[in-house]
């Protein structure tokens, strides 16, 4: 899946936040593993959750997170912006 496959404003905010942390990148495909590719480390993961909460208008229970929901932009969109 490419980044063109994701179009909601919420997920765009999440993508922009990640790209803003990695100025060496200009695009981020929806199926890139954010953790394995080191785009989001454990410190930044909290900020990612915060960014998703802000974009989706939801509160995420950090203690009961399913890490799979945060693996890629596609899984984030499915879990929080579908």
């Amino acid at each position: 899946m490419s980044s063109a496959g994701i179009g909601s404003a919420g997920i765009d905010k999440v993508r922009d936040w990640i790209l803003g942390r990695h100025p060496e990148r200009t695009e981020l495909a929806a199926d890139v593993d954010l953790i394995e590719s080191r785009l989001v480390d454990s410190l930044a993961f909290v900020e990612l959750v915060y960014t998703i909460e802000d974009a989706a208008g939801v509160e995420i229970d950090f203690d009961n997170i399913d890490i799979e929901d945060f693996q890629t932009l596609a899984t984030i969109e499915k879990a929080f912006f579908a």
Partner: protein
């Protein structure tokens, strides 16, 4: 028979500045407990960047002892507070305590140092579990640092 374990992590102070910058919102409170927030102030009330970086590094170092793969760091469930004699001490609760129990950990010790814009921390403990059969490829969950 017990097996020794160590965890290590480094945090640049620049990351702490991002978390404490105006506009960052209440982010720091997602990493630090109320007691830690109080302990992370200098006498004049400013954010103790080196202290916070050391505390965050120590939390991640402790988390690596858990061997918990693809789980987020339970930041507030691993408290790093000043112990007897000024040495840092670890207090576990919630998910932190649960993961430590699951890993079969004994008492945890940590050591923290700061220099040249970085804080580094090492955590050590022993476990009664055999890690050789199920050792994760890396210790970090959400994960790498």
């Amino acid at each position: 028979m017990t097996q020794p374990l160590i965890g290590v992590d480094v945090v640049p102070l620049s990351r702490v500045r991002e978390l404490t910058a105006p506009g960052a919102g209440p982010l720091l409170g997602r990493y630090l407990s109320a007691a830690e927030l109080i302990a992370s102030r200098t006498p004049d009330g400013a954010a103790d960047e080196a202290g916070i970086a050391g505390r965050l590094a120590a939390k991640e170092a402790v988390f690596k002892l858990f061997g918990a793969v693809r789980r987020p760091v339970p930041w507030r469930g691993i408290e790093v507070l000043r112990g007897p004699g000024g040495r840092p001490g670890v207090r576990l609760s919630g998910k932190g305590a649960e993961l430590a129990r699951h890993a079969g950990l004994g008492p945890i010790d940590v050591s923290i140092s700061h220099d040249a814009g970085f804080a580094i921390a090492v955590a050590a403990a022993s476990t009664s579990h055999d890690r050789t059969a199920s050792a994760p490829p890396n210790g970090a969950a959400s994960g790498r640092s």
